[in-house]
């Protein structure tokens, strides 16, 4: 039973018998907890909440925090998939808690919620994001230009602008990087997100820093570590074709064309 059942025709639907009724059910969440004050390692705790068919995992986490255990810690800001604060591992897959409907992750079994993998856990579902942002900063994620600044805007055709549109959708949530097996095994690897953010400038017709960035990504911890497992593309909550972007950077390195 989902929200679709409640939908009404466009001119009204006052007669819809189920209007306003959202079916509810009990769902079990198994959450990885860690308190650096008292715990030496992570452990599971189980919570039961009453959820509605249209609730997201974030709503369930809030319910637990507000009504059952005020100490449960997780990040969230905008709560609709734009800020990228609440990436977590839900049933073994990286997702944003605010964009994951409970009904879509099989609420019949306990839903596991863990912090994203490969970054140090600070508390409960919160990880230290600094290593992630370090890699981001290393690829020089800013426009590099030569010559004089224009008085108005730089001219860019819609086609040139569309060339890198996909990689500008990144919200730096780390879902891709922390789904990458290479990154799990080698924290030195730049990771998909950093490459995505380099891509956005390498393929920007206004940018003159492409060669520098490609040199950085040609490093032994750079793009060549990618094993094309497509985990990153699957994990991206923005639908960015991450693996394709990485392939384009590899190709640019081989052909020096970008």
């Amino acid at each position: 039973m989902t929200a679709t059942a409640e939908k009404t025709d466009q001119t009204g639907g006052q007669d819809s018998p189920k209007a306003g009724v959202v079916p509810s059910f009990t769902v079990t969440l198994k959450i990885s907890r860690f308190d650096p004050e008292t715990d030496s390692e992570q452990h599971w705790e189980t919570y039961e909440v009453t959820a509605h068919a249209t609730d997201r995992v974030l709503d369930a986490l809030h319910q637990i925090k507000w009504d059952q255990d005020g100490s449960l810690s997780f990040r969230r800001s905008c709560a609709h998939g734009v800020c990228g604060s609440d990436a977590m591992r839900i049933n073994g897959k990286n997702r944003l808690a605010c964009k994951t409907l409970i009904k879509d992750v099989n609420p019949d079994k306990p839903i596991t919620v863990e912090p994203i993998k490969g970054l140090p856990v600070e508390k409960d579902l919160i990880v230290d994001m600094e290593p992630f942002f370090d890699a981001y900063r290393e690829v020089m994620p800013f426009l590099i230009t030569e010559g004089n600044e224009p008085t108005r805007e730089r001219i860019q055709s819609q086609a040139d602008r569309d060339r890198f549109d996909d990689t500008t959708k990144c919200i730096l949530c780390a879902a891709c990087t922390t789904s990458c097996p290479v990154f799990w095994n080698d924290g030195q690897y730049f990771g998909p997100a950093a490459i995505v953010n380099a891509h956005r400038f390498i393929f920007d017709s206004r940018d003159d820093g492409g060669t520098q960035r490609l040199e950085i990504l040609n490093d032994k911890e750079g793009v060549w570590r990618c094993r094309t497992t497509f985990n990153c593309t699957d994990a991206c909550p923005r639908g960015i074709e991450v693996t394709k972007a990485i392939q384009e950077v590899k190709r640019a390195l081989l052909t020096s064309r970008f």
Binding site: A19, S77, V82, F142, T168
Partner: protein
Amino acid sequence: MTDLERHDYDVIVIGAGGAGLRAAIEAREQGLRTAIICKSLFGKAHTVMAEGGIAASMGNANEKDNWQTHFRDTMRGGKFLNNPRMAELHAKEAPMRVWELETYGALFDRTPDGRISQRNFGGHEYPRLAHVGDRTGLELIRTLQQKIVSLQQEDHRETGDYESRLRVFAELTVTDILKADGAVAGAFGYWRESGRFVLFSAPAVILATGGIGKSFKVTSNSWEYTGDGHALALRAGASLVNMEFIQFHPTGMVWPPSVKGILVTESVRGDGGVLRNSEGKRFMFDYVPDVFRGQYADTEEEADRWYKDPENNKRPPELLPRDEVARAINNEVKEGRSSPHGGVFLDVSTRLPAEEIRRRLPSMHHQFKELADVDITAEPMEVGPTCHYVMGGVEVDADTAATSVPGLYAAGEVAGGMHGSNRLGGNSLSDLLVFGRRAGVGASEYIAALGDSRPAIQDADVDRAAEVALAPFRDASENPYSLHQELQQKMNDLVGIIRREGEVREALDMLDDLDERAKSVGVEGHRQFNPGWHLALDLRNMLAVCRCVALAALERTESRGGHTREDFPGMDPEWRGVNLICTLDGSDAVQLRRQPVPEIRQDLLELFERTELSKYLTAPELARLDAGGSSTQQGSADGSDRS
């Protein structure tokens, strides 16, 4: 205090949204050592949620556009209660700020000849919003974040230290501004991760903390919006102006419940989406107020022609300013013509081909599909008003963003005056850039004038700030989450979109009660990432801000922009000249007083037709205008600095 982390800066910017980052960039460019403090991770600020675009009269889509037209639209939207100097500076400088953002590397949609494309939006006479799809806010934040990374790398090349001039303190909350001899001396806060206290010495603080939406139950705002900057300013001795003006965005999702409040961007209406009630009627034609008659279409046929030919047709009434649309929806619902879940229908599915909708409104299509399982290309959305923006805020000087407290500045949503009683869509992102930059300049000039005589923080003040911050760790029974939920519900019900004297008085009694109970809020656990403790401290801010909102809403006995009094439904020209100012007295109680609105300069008044002015101004004001505005002009000399 011994276990206190200490830092020394020239400027502290509190808040890392558009205004905070632009202010910090400016301060660093002016050579100041600058700290940026934010409650969230860096780059996650609420600005990312802005979808429509940045309003700036660049004239790329219609070369007739200019700053005067933008100024006029802004004043009309604000119902002439705007600080006119702010509206003027904003209209003049917005194009430069957008071009500058483009040179920083921002992505924009382009015109066929490669210039920045501009789109239509409610209340703007010409297509004026520079945008990238419907993720303009995200791109703005990302671009400013990238600019900061580039400045840090520049500093590294020069000094060997990335953070020598510009450092970001993420996930840190400031609880108090500290002063010495009446001037800013620094700020006190805690790391959210460790709970450890941090003391910043700095002669200048720029508040850029955004709004207050989390005081209301139905809101589009993210969790950070707890009125921190408003409350910090109050406690530091600054004043808040016109807190009664709160914008309820007309089209928030009302269904399903888990996403209640989340915004449906105005571009849906700009691109052809229409509002219908349960009878299928396109009802906005019934709600064009007299002041806007003549600018909006009278028939569906004319309105529909406007999308293709805006030159020769009047705009559809769906694009009236937000307050008008919100009130209209509220009225339809009240009169029993609502959609099944208490909103109205916003339909774009019958207006544009599915492919076109997906191309023009990709994020909206995505948002509804993913968060709510609704396909907007196939069916209408159910929408209703949601608390979106506070026009009121810290009273500042238009040119420098300075508050009445030496060393304290405010920019962006936390500052008041710019938008008058109602903000136009698109004017927020431009506001952030224009006044963020001005605050950075203002703080730099202040520090230059200070020389070496910087105020020194008093130990006793630090001890007191620590004591207040630790107070929730007492053996007490009130749960901060329940208290917060109660506050949100009551503010929504009693001081929401439609206000009545009796209910606002009830709200004030409720606030007395909550203030009392807040004294016995207790939290469990330790100081490490303790969300209950964080909320307990944020609650103090929300309670102070809500009281200002309620007091001002009670005082203003008229309806204007984001303040609707059911018992005083009309707009009263006498009230147009009145700002409502809130301050704290010696015992931390909120005091409210009236203050004249800065007068509008003669040359700015002359941008309007007299018939239009006669809808807003009092008879004596009009008489002065007709007499050549001698006394009006005189008033403006000091008037422009008053608010």
